[in-house]
């Protein structure tokens, strides 16, 4: 197997610097141009261009039949997508907040996740559910959650958690081309973040391939979404203190590139998982378990977690930040772990 190094983070000749939102908008437009079976549905995605503006301009280009406004009804949005997928189309639906996946829980966790298998593989359900996720500054407990672990726990779904504009675009294109249902957790706090994105209609980031966001030798930090940049900032603070941190962004949680994580831990002998979601039973617990199952004898120290608190998120933006990992907390935890 020939591995080609991942060059994310550097601007090549064919890269442009664009925003995470723009990258998602481009992925949607390109895939709709590429394949006329692709269409979209969601509350306010058409005339308004989406509650966060991600679908601006798409109804103008593709018309109200392919970019459809719906009522306030997540049950209908996802259930309708399941039916449309059975009919041979590729629906990409948006829920205004990832939190509302609970409203559409039966449609997501039963219809999308299970029907391919319950019906003996007679069909697939190529549905992408776009889920604006995470804290954004005062949206409150019902509009700020990181629910990717819940999606991980139900077999049949794929789960993407892009942290950069390049991955947002590449993973969304891969999601739309995937025959299986994908829950696509976009982080609201990253919508305005800019970064290099390859100028190519075929910039597709395969699922199940982690990105080494920073190479290091002393401690492996696995982080997703908003936490990737915080882990990188922490790594820069830790480097002068003699702690050389490797930051790995799995990019998709289902499938999970555990091989890359294990290989890193076998070199660094220490692992810390950072996630915004609540601490208890988050994906950090799953990664910790898989790593100790495979690399127990490589470990110099316990696998550590830096996570959101086990609380409903407060609405006050400052209290809210106190409930999710900060760069300072990652630094403090890394120092404690390195000292073991």
């Amino acid at each position: 197997m020939t591995t080609t190094p991942v060059t994310t983070g550097t601007t090549g000749a064919t890269d442009r610097v664009i925003g995470y939102s723009r990258a998602i908008n481009e992925a949607l437009a390109e895939e709709m141009r590429r394949d006329e079976r692709v269409w979209m549905m969601g509350q306010d995605i058409g005339r308004l261009g989406g509650v966060f503006g991600l679908t601006r301009g798409l109804q103008e280009e593709f018309g109200p039949m392919r970019v459809r406004d719906t009522a306030i009804n997540e049950t209908f949005i996802v259930g309708g997508a399941a039916g449309a997928a059975l009919a041979g189309t590729i629906p990409v639906v948006e829920l205004q907040f990832a939190d509302f996946l609970f409203t559409a829980a039966d449609e997501i966790f039963h219809k999308l996740a299970k029907w391919r298998y319950m019906h003996g593989g007679q069909f697939t359900l190529p549905v992408v559910v776009r889920l604006p996720s995470g804290v954004v500054g005062g949206a409150g407990a019902e509009h700020s959650q990181s629910l990717e672990t819940i999606a991980m726990h139900v077999p049949g779904l794929k789960v993407a958690v892009p942290a950069t504009p390049s991955d947002a675009k590449g993973l969304l294109k891969a999601a739309i081309r995937d025959p299986d249902p994908v829950l696509f957790f976009e982080h609201k706090g990253l919508y305005r973040v800019k970064g290099p994105v390859p100028e190519s209609d075929e910039h597709v980031v395969p699922f199940g391939s982690a990105r080494v966001a920073r190479a290091g030798n002393d401690l492996t930090v696995v982080a997703t979404g908003l936490m990737v940049d915080r882990a990188l900032a922490a790594a820069e603070q830790l480097a002068p203190q003699g702690i050389d941190v490797e930051v790995i962004d799995p990019r998709t949680l289902v499938p999970l590139d555990i091989d890359t994580i294990v290989a890193s831990v076998e070199r660094t002998h220490r692992l810390m998982v950072v996630h915004e979601a609540s601490r208890t039973a988050g994906f950090g617990a799953e990664i910790a378990t898989q790593v100790q199952e495979r690399a127990f004898f490589s470990l110099d120290a316990p696998v550590w977690r830096v996570c959101g608190t086990d609380t409903p998120l407060p609405q006050d933006p400052e209290l809210e930040q106190a409930c999710i990992p900060s760069t300072d907390e990652i630094v403090a935890a890394a120092r404690a772990l390195a000292a073991i």
Partner: protein
């Protein structure tokens, strides 16, 4: 002079249209008091003043569109005017403003009201955004805002009557709104002095519901009219327990905690104390009552044959780290528990104090984990085997430790070739296999080492350990990597037993079934790169030995030979260029060379009856 800015009224809302002005130029305004109404495509709402003072300018007319963040109105604050115009209204001058400043910075924080997807019941009450009317000041319990879109409530039941003592946080009445029915908790401690509304009355948010005074007496008109300047607006939140409630002028001490509802679900609010958690973990090391080692240290100890029980840990809490194991393994064999290295392919470790840290890559690394400058070169990343890593570590340690020096001699094997041919012919008649040259070299080496015991030794700076037997290591190239099995007591073996012993060991290795003693306690090593075609054979010393003999390929070379008549001529002879690499710390070049010459002499003069 201060501005009231157009707030962001929803995620996607960028502007609003002024629909009515509620305050005119010259009107006094207080913080939280509505000054105008604004319509957006999502909501119609009142804009509350964020400053207290007198309205001096309406910056937009009715029906004009205002962008989010733009100033709506100008308010002259107390700081602006030395003598503010006396308010005409009976309303008192503003009480000091609460600090709540409605988000002036544009944010993509959505106003929950604009989600449209959610009932608005969720947040109990945002922080005070409506100051109570000033007339009842510090004694008023006001109607709190019970939801984003809730503007009024109906008093359904009074729970406290006039004259009842009231504590902070104690419910005084029940209120029904179109969203929720809830109890209103007192924000003032004292005695209920007045119910301002009867049951069934509709009360606007911010209006006083009741007065609670220290003694239950209604404040006199004169006392009420100018509220004391220190008065703070009562918080209106019903959800927040009253620990932070403002203490009115001289209230009785706050009684013990307010009524607490049943314990909530198990919550673990942060911050998570990583340092304390690590300390708790490390405290378990001392309590364990057994050797505590990191998993990685346990594996290393098993690999190197180190007994954890004898080690002092230097890790956190005193646990044994990989570095501790490594140090123990590198202690002199005399000091360390001697029976070492059951499975390692290399001999017991050297007496050197080598750094324990695993060797880093040794070259500058780029950011993507590749050697600097190699980012665009395609590559395969092949994981290294454990044997490879052990070998790598051993080789660099040996190189760091010993002063390597190689001496070489050419050996004419012409005579030995004949001897070997005859011996093999004889063995063939007995159905036994052929002997290679290696057992002959091994035999000659053992004989020479008995004469030069300083090369069958271990060097420890303070002393040289001359081993009393020759345990001959033979470097073997196996599919799993380089292995060095040991023939114990080789000085007692004949060429044939040596040959068969080597064959046996190699077979066991290739089958993957070496025994625990097959690798330990070597005292001298022979390496045979000639088997794959090398023409010279310097080597790295197998620690903790002091020398290694390299045996390259035998080459047929033009050679000057002396004829029986004393003349010289050139003949074609099988020549072996033996290389002895030795530790120059332990012995000098002359000593090593004398030993090597001795080996060569024994090989060149070998007769068929020798060394059987």
């Amino acid at each position: 002079m201060a501005h009231v800015l157009m707030p962001r009224l929803g995620v996607s809302v960028t502007e609003g249209t002024v629909s009515a002005w509620l305050k005119q130029v010259g009107d006094p305004v207080e913080v939280g008091e509505p000054i105008c109404e604004v319509a957006t495509d999502k909501v119609d709402t009142e804009i509350e003043s964020t400053v207290a003072g007198v309205l001096t300018e309406q910056l937009y007319a009715v029906d004009e569109v205002v962008e989010v963040g733009a100033p709506l109105a100008t308010v002259a604050t107390a700081d602006d005017a030395a003598a503010p115009a006396a308010p005409a209204a009976p309303a008192a001058p503003a009480a000091p403003a609460p600090p709540a400043a409605p988000e002036p910075t544009p944010s993509i924080v959505p106003d929950p009201a604009s989600y449209g997807d959610e009932p608005d019941a969720a947040p109990a009450a945002p922080p005070a955004d409506a100051a109570p009317p000033a007339d009842d000041g510090r004694y008023a319990v006001v109607m709190p805002r019970l939801g984003v879109s809730v503007t009024e409530g109906t008093v359904s039941t009074w729970l406290k009557q006039v004259g009842d003592p009231v504590e902070l946080g104690e419910p005084i009445c029940e209120v029904a709104t179109d969203k929720v029915d809830t109890e209103i908790e007192s924000t003032v401690a004292g005695v209920l002095a007045e119910q301002r509304h009867a049951e069934g009355d509709v009360v606007l948010v911010g209006e006083p519901l009741a007065l609670v005074t220290p003694d239950g007496a209604l404040p006199s008109a004169s006392a009420a009219a100018p509220p004391p300047p220190v008065a703070q607006p009562a918080p209106t939140s019903t959800a927040v327990p009253v620990a932070a409630a403002p203490a009115p002028s001289a209230p009785p001490a706050v009684p013990a905690g307010p009524t607490v509802p049943g314990a909530p679900a198990e919550l673990r609010p942060g911050p998570f104390d990583h340092t304390a958690a690590v300390e708790r973990l490390l405290a378990t090391v001392a309590r364990a009552g057994r050797p505590v080692a990191a998993p990685s240290a346990r594996r290393l100890a098993a690999d190197l044959g180190v007994d954890l029980a004898g080690l002092t840990g230097t890790g956190g809490g005193g646990h044994v780290t990989r570095a501790d194991v490594q140090r123990a393994a590198e202690r002199p064999p005399a000091a360390a528990a001697a029976p070492a290295a059951p499975a390692a392919s290399v001999a017991p470790p050297a007496p050197a104090a080598a750094p324990a840290a695993p060797e880093p890559t040794g070259h500058p690394m780029g950011s993507d984990g590749l050697p600097l400058g190699y980012e665009d070169v395609p590559y395969d990343a092949v994981p290294t085997s454990r044997i490879r890593r052990v070998t790598a570590e051993h080789m660099t340690r040996s190189r760091r430790t010993a002063a390597h020096m190689t001496t070489e001699v050419d050996v004419d094997l012409g005579l030995l070739t004949d001897v070997r041919a005859r011996l093999n012919a004889h063995r063939a008649t007995q159905g036994r296999g052929k002997l290679s040259f290696l057992p002959f070299v091994a035999r000659a080496t053992c004989a020479a080492l008995l004469e030069h015991p300083d090369l069958n030794a271990t060097f420890e700076t303070e002393r040289l350990l001359r081993w009393g037997e020759i345990n001959l290591g033979i470097a073997v190239d196996t599919p799993r990597g380089l292995m060095v099995p040991v023939l114990r007591g080789a000085e007692r073996m004949t060429v044939e037993t040596l040959g068969e012993g080597i064959t046996d060991l190699a077979a066991r290795l290739r089958d993957g079934k070496p025994g625990p003693d097959d690798f330990r306690a070597g005292t001298f090593t022979i390496s045979n790169p000639g088997s794959v075609g090398a023409v010279s054979a310097p080597a790295i010393i197998n620690q903790p030995q002091v020398a290694i003999l390299g045996m390259p390929t035998i080459q047929r070379r033009p050679w000057v030979v002396r004829l029986a008549d004393g003349q010289e001529t050139i003949a074609i002879r099988p020549i072996l260029r033996l290389a002895l690499t030795f530790d120059h710390r332990a012995l000098d070049g002359a000593d090593a060379t004398r030993c090597l010459v001795d080996i060569g002499r024994r090989l060149e003069t070998w007769d068929v009856d020798d060394y059987r």
